[in-house]
């Protein structure tokens, strides 16, 4: 193949469109649509006594007002529990509009449709809801005591309880291993709430033409939203299409579905016979979408004189918010991915998933891993400190070795499959990150510190994705896949894969994602899976197309298919430059025609082709057209890995933290496009810096979110994010044809751990709770100094 684009720093083909304002996001669509606004609960916990909408009826331009009472049977049911799990014994989901009780501030109670959003909000302001305020349950420890209940029928507020235990090689339990270890440590670690916070919030726009429903949603999964809408609105699936237009970031919150609005807006469009649109505003996003990260961890570890871990026991309290629509994926990932690149003698992990009267929790980029990595890496640092050993050396002694892959951690991962690492080289990665940051030559001065953190990330979870590739008679290659894109650069990397596989110039390749009209079978974009899943599916589909192209070309050139190759979009006989046929012509020959609508088509018509008169024009087992479809369904996840190191400086007086250097070594197997991987890492680190130093959801004791705006929820600006130095290690995955692993979440995962490590080194104070603000560091110093 001479058109080798796989592995190149190909510039993102979506950038000219997205960076010059040519993107078409949800709110850019449907200028003629009616607008929706919601009356949302102002209380964290309350019983609805009465809803009086009469005040709103005078608003000119009001079209409709809906409450729970108006919902038909299927809509009146609780929303789906998307990912059931045997341990989730008390899963609870909300109704599309509140029924009787509201359980967090922001829960939708009344839906208003009006001629525009201004009028809809005016009407919302005139609707009176009479609430009986109930005592709210706020704070994970208070909730775990169970004195006050979020759901009357969930005792102790415990939605799920799960224990996983991996005994040591000699059969001893983690508790036994810890108790008999030469040294033990026990401590508590906290991570606070944050949220995905995409620049574009959620949004839904629906059109109904009397028989067919078209829905646009700012979603990470159009195929599953489509199935949910068809089921809830009782429509035949072929009459529903869902399209994810340009999406301004997802980071997990848009894989959650169906959101109440994704059902209610299409329902209203059908009832009213007019297009209807809802665009979430920022205040709504804070209180009515989803959060993540809030967990408390109790760790006990036993280890030997060399710092080798012999037993580890972690007990987790997971704050689930008011509902569990996405199941218990987050604490499961924490439980399993906590182990990182280490072989732990014996491991026991237990979590309780607790309801509180706060916004529900669903995965946010990293999805439980930042918490798990924080636990494990703080543990490594504490062992090193206790024994007076180098922090990197302790990690190295616990690494899984390169010759131990595939390595079975003995647990069940989030995809229900065994937690078996496919490949990796952790000692080499540590050597690289130490060299990059200058670990061994670090000049330790007062109020400077260096830190390190390692992680392993299960990526590319199943069950499957598909790809469709079509070569048209103009020589263009049309690639489609069902999963969605939120700005990651899929158009570029999928085009690189197709161009490489087919031997065509990349300019000839176009890519469509997330449009159920083009590809109806898909799972979605989450869990760092798009490149692994759709990338391999597209490669496999391309290989089918290539094989067919070579078969047809071999016929035309009277050559053996094995002697042919495709370069620059032309099939030719290897070593015989004269004998060639453009792929465009092969596409023409692949589709026998009766009608000559243009010059190319004329060549495929019945009197022009030299087809044998005694054989059907489309041979048995063949299909017309030069196209192929294939799926990739992995036996289990691929496991990417990374190690980050940072140098920080703390102000001795103001306690401000400055990140002086930040280094990343990353291994996601074979790189399709190093520039795009680095971009993903940079964005991830930026979000990680937010989680480590700035972002938190501040709830008061009444369950009111006190910082529900970008003025007080502190996402880092460019001025707060350090320059990021990156190096790659490429350990191919043996599990898929392209040898790749996922990269989307990587950057965010270890940032709290690495910055805690560096701040601890700078200050000589244990950092057991993240994020940490200057005020908190100041008070830690005060407590130490008395």
């Amino acid at each position: 193949m001479t058109t080798q684009l796989f592995g190149e720093r190909v510039r993102r083909r979506e950038d000219p469109r997205l960076l010059t304002g040519q993107g078409r996001y949800l709110d850019d669509l449907g200028r003629d649509a009616l607008a929706v606004a919601f009356v949302r609960s102002p209380h964290a916990h309350a019983r609805i006594r009465d809803i009086d909408v009469s005040g709103a009826l005078d608003v000119e331009g009001l079209v409709a007002v809906y409450t729970y009472e108006d919902l038909p049977e299927r809509l009146a049911e609780p929303l789906p529990l998307l990912i059931p799990h045997p341990a989730l014994t008390h899963g609870r989901t909300a109704h599309p509009l509140a029924k009787d009780v509201v359980r967090h501030v922001g829960e939708p109670v009344v839906m208003v449709v009006a001629e525009d959003r201004y009028l809809a909000e005016d009407a919302c302001g005139l609707i009176e809801v009479d609430y009986e305020v109930l005592k709210p349950v706020v704070g994970i420890e208070e909730a775990a005591q169970g004195a006050q209940l979020v759901h009357e029928d969930v005792p102790g507020n415990v939605g799920a309880h799960m224990v996983q235990e991996v005994p040591a090689a000699d059969g001893r339990s983690a508790r036994e291993a810890i108790e008999t270890a030469p040294h033990t440590l026990a401590f508590r670690l906290d991570i606070e709430r944050s949220a995905s916070m995409p620049l574009e919030g959620r949004g839904v726009y629906a059109r109904w033409d009397g028989s067919d429903l078209r829905v646009y949603s700012s979603t990470q999964t159009s195929t599953s939203v489509r199935m949910a809408i068809a089921a809830k609105l009782e429509l035949p699936l072929p009459h529903v299409e869902v399209i994810a237009p340009d999406v301004g970031g997802g980071f997990g919150v848009k894989i959650m579905h169906p959101w109440p609005e994704e059902i209610l807006v299409p329902w209203a469009a059908m009832l009213l016979g007019r297009p209807v649109k809802w665009t979430e505003d920022r205040r709504e996003h804070f209180v009515s979408s989803a959060h993540e990260r809030g967990q408390v961890h109790y760790v006990r570890v036993g280890f030997d004189d060399e710092g080798r871990v012999q037993g580890l026991e972690v007990t987790i309290l997971h704050d689930h918010g008011a509902y569990t629509p996405y199941g218990i994926i987050v604490p499961i990932i924490t439980s399993t991915q906590l182990l990182g690149p280490y072989r732990i003698g014996a491991y026991r992990v237990e979590f309780s998933s607790i309801y509180t009267n706060t916004v529900q929790v669903t995965p946010y980029r990293g999805a439980g891993r930042p918490q798990g990595v924080f636990c494990m890496e703080r543990t490594m640092d504490k062992i090193a400190q206790y024994l007076g050993l180098d922090r990197a050396a302790v990690r190295e002694r616990n690494f899984i070795q390169p010759d131990e892959f595939p390595y079975d951690q003995g647990m069940i991962f989030q995809d229900g499959r065994p937690l078996i690492y496919d490949s990796g080289n952790y000692p080499e990665m540590l050597r690289m990150v130490k060299e990059l940051i200058g670990w061994d030559s670090f000049d330790k001065r007062p109020h400077t510190g260096i830190g390190l953190a390692c992680y392993v990330e299960g990526t590319g979870v199943g069950p499957y994705e598909g790809g469709h590739v079509q070569v048209t008679s103009d020589g263009r290659v049309h690639v489609s896949t069902g999963l969605t894109s939120q700005g990651q650069g899929h158009e570029t990397v999928f085009a690189q894969i197709a161009a490489t596989e087919l031997g065509v110039p990349i300019e000839k390749v176009s890519v469509v994602t997330g449009d159920t009209r083009r590809f109806g079978y898909a799972v979605g974009t989450f869990a760092s899976r798009a490149a692994v899943m759709s990338g391999n599916a597209i490669a496999l589909a391309c290989r089918k197309v290539r094989e067919k192209a070579l078969r047809i070309a071999a016929d035309a050139l009277e050559a053996d298919p094995g002697d042919l190759e495709i370069t620059e979009g032309v099939v030719h006989v290897k070593g015989a430059p004269g004998a060639s046929i453009p792929l465009a012509t092969v596409a023409v020959l692949a589709n026998p025609l009766r009608y000559a609508f243009d010059e190319e088509a004329r060549r495929a018509t019945q009197f022009a082709s030299a087809a044998a008169p005694d054989r059907p024009p489309v041979a048995e087992g063949e299909e017309p057209g030069l196209e192929g479809r294939d799926y990739y369904s992995p036996v289990r996840s691929t496991f990417a890995a990374g190690m980050h190191a940072a140098i920080v400086e703390t102000d001795p007086d103001t306690a401000e933290v400055r990140i002086l250097r930040y280094a990343v070594v990353h291994d996601c197997g074979r790189l399709i496009n190093p520039m795009i991987v680095e971009g993903q890492i940079h964005g991830g680190v930026a979000q990680g810096v937010g989680g480590a130093l700035y972002e938190r959801m501040v709830y008061d004791s009444h369950g009111q979110l006190l910082n529900a705006s970008f003025m007080d929820f502190l996402m880092p600006y460019a001025t707060e994010v350090p320059r990021i130095e990156t190096a790659h290690l490429e350990t191919p995955s043996p599990l898929n044809p392209l040898g790749i692993k996922g990269a989307g979440e990587a950057g965010v995962i270890p940032v709290s751990a690495v910055l805690a490590s560096a701040i601890e080194d700078a200050e000589g104070l244990p950092i057991d709770r993240m994020p940490i603000s200057p005020a908190e560091l100041y008070h830690l110093r005060q407590s130490r100094d008395g």
């Binding site: 201004y118 103001t654 600006y717 001025t719 707060e720 200057p774």
Partner: protein
């Protein structure tokens, strides 16, 4: 997040603007740069019946040197004022939000908004400047010490328009500094101190974010013992707890920043 209904007025000259505001009195609200008002409208935290947009009044888009200082018109944007050659305003405006906001927000608008965490009220208070308020047929100058009445509360009366502010020049040879700690670059400060030191040893400071209005403290008696001067400033501050920092930490910051600011101002005064 859409504003409630309001009637919009766009007067074409100052007389028309003053007449409109006088007629509307309590019912009218002035729109200049809109960097605070528009978010408050969108969140429905304020609901004026009438909005009087003064952006067409070219006669207010002025920055002029007049005896002993800089007169800044009501439509002069932060970015322009920052380039007008006043060293303390230049330092302060670097700390105000971000370029996009500074290109639109106005200095006089920030003074009238009277946010206790904002930089410009502190600068006006430290320098002993004033704000010129107009209504039809009458104009008055209100000194900074009488202009800031409380959080988000200034001396502007219903029907009045703040047409300009006067920032006195630094005394000859004086040095100044504006230091603050904000959670992120450009955020409202957790605490901030601006300081002025003259070659003769006069020294004073103003604090932001640690009291209902800018707090000005004259420490000339303690200069050049800057540690003692900083303690005096810290004692004058009245910080509160909020979600970003404790009162204790804020008070501590005032002391740290005041000492640093005095030293920096003193160093530049001698230079």
């Amino acid at each position: 997040m859409k504003p409630p209904p309001f009637e919009y007025h766009a007067p074409r000259d100052l007389d028309e603007a003053l007449d409109t505001l006088a007629r509307l009195a309590e019912r009218g609200k002035v729109l200049a740069g809109g960097q605070s008002l528009i978010p408050m409208l969108n969140m429905r935290l304020t609901a004026p019946e009438h909005l009087v947009d003064v952006n067409r009044l070219a006669e207010l888009d002025t920055v002029e040197t007049e005896d002993g200082g800089l007169r800044v018109g009501a439509l002069a944007r932060h970015s322009r004022v920052g380039r007008a050659g006043h060293p303390l305003l230049r330092q302060a405006l670097k700390l105000v939000a971000h370029p996009v906001i500074r290109n639109r927000g106005t200095v006089v608008g920030s003074l009238v908004h009277a946010d206790p965490a904002a930089e410009l009220p502190a600068v006006l208070a430290l320098l002993g400047g004033s704000v010129r308020l107009a209504r039809p047929g009458r104009t008055r100058d209100v000194p900074a010490a009488e202009f800031f009445l409380g959080p988000l509360e200034s001396a502007v009366e219903p029907g009045e328009l703040a047409v300009s502010a006067f920032f006195p020049a630094l005394p000859p040879g004086a040095g100044c500094a504006f230091l603050e700690v904000a959670r992120r670059h450009g955020d409202f400060a957790l605490a901030g101190v601006c300081a002025l030191v003259t070659p003769e040893g006069h020294a004073r400071a103003a604090c932001v974010g640690v009291g209902p209005v800018p707090i000005v403290v004259d420490v000339s008696e303690r200069a050049p013992d800057w540690a003692a001067a900083a303690r005096a400033v810290r004692e004058a501050a009245e910080p509160d707890d909020d979600i970003h920092a404790t009162a204790e930490y804020r008070g501590h910051l005032v002391g740290v920043l005041a000492e640093r600011a005095f030293r920096e101002a003193a160093a530049s005064a001698k230079a």
